[in-house]
């Protein structure tokens, strides 16, 4: 069943799917870090928890 070269309904193999997903995860992490920085700057400008 787990033939690495099997092409699934979406036209991808398991390797291609995981490669795509690794990039999506990395992009999300970068987005997260930028967002964290933005929140830090926003908190410095206007602390909303005080």
């Amino acid at each position: 069943m787990d033939d690495p070269n099997k092409v699934w309904p979406t036209g991808l193999t398991v390797g291609e799917s995981e490669e795509l997903h690794r990039n999506i995860i990395q992009g999300t992490q970068i987005f997260g870090m930028i967002a964290a920085l933005a929140h830090l700057l926003a908190y410095i400008y206007s602390p909303w928890l005080k």
Binding site: G11, L12, S17, E18, R22, Y45
Partner: protein
């Protein structure tokens, strides 16, 4: 990586734009909520130097005007 095989069942040409679109819509909603529920975002966008100067001289620390809770 537990969802690595998602793209075997979800076409990337559908899943990726959907994912990015959802993040964009969510981000827009949060920014809109902030704009309507805080005072400092609008003041910041207005960039009214009078308020910034007043804050600077009065309170010293650039704290935002008391946000109505």
């Amino acid at each position: 990586m537990i969802y690595g095989k998602i793209w075997l069942v979800v076409k990337p040409s559908v899943g990726v734009p959907l994912f990015l679109g959802a993040v964009a819509v969510g981000s827009f909603a949060v920014h809109a909520a902030l704009l309507t529920n805080t005072t400092w975002v609008k003041a910041f966008l207005n960039g009214n130097t009078k308020a910034v100067v007043a804050e600077g001289s009065a309170a010293g620390a650039p704290t935002a005007p008391a946000a109505k809770k």
